[in-house]
Every structure is written in C-alpha cells, then in structure tokens.
Symmetry: C2
Subunit: 211 residues, 2 copies
DNA sequence: TAGATTGTTAATCGATTAACAATC
DNA sequence: TAGATTGTTAATCGATTAACAATC
C-alpha cells in the first residue's frame, strides 16, 4: 500500500464496489483476475482498475496472470478498515435507527455500535440486538466513558440540529448523518450525509431519459 | 428550465442539498439569496451555484438581488420530480424494508410505494403504513396490474439476485438497490445502489486523516 | 518465443473556477 | 451613480483514458 498516494472521493466510492464484485467472483471459483475482466464486468476502464489497485495493494500485479483475488480482497478490507473495529454511538431509535441496529452488514465493515440513545421512555433501558439504549440525557457522559468519536444520526428532522450541537459539545468529531435536512456543523467536524434524495434523483433522472 | 442542458451525476447529487439548504434558509425568513451566500454556506464556489441554477431555473437571476428562494425551491422540486408521483414496489419487508415503508420523506420526494412483497407467512397479508404486503409469488401479476416500473430492493443478500431476475422478467426497468452485494443486471435496466459501505468509507477516511 | 497483462507516462476529457462584461 | 450580482466565455484543474514499453 502506497500511503502517500491521495485517494479521491470517487475512488473511495469504487473500492466497496470492487470488494463486492471480488467476493462474488471468488464464490464462482476465480483465483486470479485481470483488470480487463474487472473493467468489463463493472463497466469502467481497465486503466482505472489498475490505478485504483496500485494505490492500495501490497504487491504488484503479475504479467500474464493479473492479480490474486484473495490478495485483492485482503488489501481492500485492510484499506477500508474492515479488519479493525470502528466504534460509534447511534442517536434516534426510530424505525430506521432500529433497522441500522439490526443491520448485520456493519459488523463486516468493522463498525460496532456501542450504545444507542433516544428520548422515548418505552425504549430507553431496552437492548436492541446487543446494543443498550440510554436516555439522551446520558449522551455526554456515555460518550466520554466509551471514548467514542463517531456518531450515527437518525433522529427525527425536528431534533437533528440540537442533537448535532449536543454531539459536538460531547466531543464527537465524525457524524454519519441519515437525516434529510440542512445541518450546521463546525468546520473541524466531519459529516457524511447519506442522501437518499440524491440517490433517488439519479435513478429517476436516468430512468426518465430512457422512457 | 433549459431541457437540452446535460445534467451530470455530480450536479444531480447537489440539487437535493440545495433544496435542503433553501428550505432551511426560508424558515429563517430569507426571501432572496445570492449565489455567493449559498456558496459560502454550502462550501462550494459561487460560479457552480449559478451554473447549477441556470440549468434548471425558469427565470433568470436578478442583478443586485440574486434569486427568489421560493422560486428556487419550486424549480428544484419541479426538476427533481417531487410534484408528480413516482410509483414503486418494495421487495423484502425486513427491518430496513419496514423502516423504508414508514419513512415519511418519500412522500415529499413524490415517491409512492404501492405494494410490498415478502416470503414470510406472518407478514404477508398485513398492511404497513398503508402499503399492503403480498406474497412474492404475486409479484409478477401485481407489477403488471399496477403497471409499475420501479422496484426498491431490500431483500436479504442471499435472495437478491433471484429477486432481480424475477423483477426484470416482470417488466421492472429501474431498481433502487439497498442490498450490499454484486448484482448482475441486463444493460437496459437502470440500477442505482445505495452504498452504505462507500458512505462509511468516506467518513472514516476523512476522519482518519485528521486524527 | 509470442502474447497477455502489467505499470507508467502522455493526452484527453469533463467539470470547476476565474475573469469579466452586462445590468439594475 | 456606484456597486452588487448576474450570466457567459476562457482558463485551469483533476480525473480518466490512451499509448506503449516492460515483463513473465
């Protein structure tokens, strides 16, 4: 892995796609694979595939052979941090919050949700899929206690901004935001928005072009 | 709106962000706004803001004034199709599927889920937030009956590929995919992946850079 | 060997930003 | 008017693709 190479956001979006494809192809018994085949299957250029893997791979590809699928999977998982645990808290145990707490994929991404928070009395004190649910008033103390820096924001829109403010005060530095409103966040806080509206817009726009 | 302008995917991703920001700023009583202020708040360039709105706006901006917030919101909603209903079916009424059926945001995006499908006997025949749940064996007939072209895929990973095949056979031409595996789809089918792994990778990569 | 495949360097393409005239 | 803001045209930047030598 060449750690002084800069990885662009577009590249970052591609790595999980490569990983999915390689897991798929490995199931089919493929041991080595060339960039040209990956490119054809994933509808991109082979030069891009080669450059993307050069940036994160421990070994060079082999002429005539391509790369080893297992090594590629290992390098992708290492780069994406799936082999070390990232800890987070989750705020807002509504329908989506519950679904995320039950989502088994996070474990394979190395993401562990240590605690969840809500205001609803009937849910505080329960345990969802191994994660305890605390009252929002315990947020600051728990974040300090758990020494966690990442929060998953899944509150109702009406509570999102005040929750962000509270998270920032509590020492959270990275927010994975599932709430679909404009949020004001200090410059030193990383926020990544899961924007379903944007995803749907891309689907609809392309669909309307062909219909 | 200049309909022969090509809108790039990156632009499409920005429009919902503008909309959220404008809804936020409208709540604060702002009537007109300049591209420079939008750019500062949204951390992009003012030229980009102007070009993005030129591409979708019915009226030109006004010197000295900027643009009218209400008009921008209207034009964004028109462009994004929020004022006309897009119909879809949803496949897989697990935790995430249920959360999506309860998600109130879709209504504001003009998305209406007409029917849901699953294999689990205890859930087939029920009604979730107004949407009836049918057995997967009724999928083809219902899609024909409802004349729907878009499907939301939220099945377990193990059932995703066979479900895609079934959807394609049933005449679905657009798939909004929430399942995190590599799927094989004919070239004439539009598929848009909601890739939580990619989103999380972006958050983590940026966070690790500053920590 | 021949040919498939790599990695690197150069060229191209597309998107973003800069510059600036037009305008109210 | 002066100055703020627009829209357009040109320049820049970054990412992607093409070309090609190296290699097993």
């Amino acid at each position: 892995m060449n750690s002084n190479v800069v990885i662009s956001k577009r590249q970052l979006e591609r790595y999980p796609m490569y990983l999915k494809f390689l897991i798929f192809i490995k199931k089919n018994g493929v041991v080595n694979i060339s960039s040209s085949i990956i490119a054809r299957e994933m509808k991109c250029s082979e030069e891009q595939v080669r450059k993307d893997f050069q940036a994160i791979s421990k070994n060079a590809g082999k002429c005539h052979l391509g790369r080893n699928v297992d090594e590629m999977i290992r390098d992708l998982k290492d780069f994406l941090g799936y082999n070390k645990t990232a800890e987070a808290v989750l705020i807002g145990v509504g329908n989506l919050g519950k679904a995320l707490l039950h989502y088994s994929g996070f474990a394979s991404y190395g993401l562990k949700i240590l605690a969840a928070f809500d205001v609803k009395e009937d849910i505080v004190g329960t345990n969802i899929n191994g994660t305890p649910v605390y009252d929002i008033s315990d947020l600051k103390d728990q974040i300090a206690l758990l020494n966690v820096k990442t929060a998953i924001l899944v509150t109702p829109a009406s509570a999102a901004q005040e929750t962000v403010d509270l998270l920032v005060q509590s020492g959270i530095t990275a927010i994975w935001n599932f709430v679909s409103i404009h949020l004001q966040v200090p410059d030193n806080i990383i926020i990544e928005n899961v924007d379903l509206a944007a995803s749907l817009a891309k689907l609809t726009y392309q669909h309307n072009k062909i219909c």
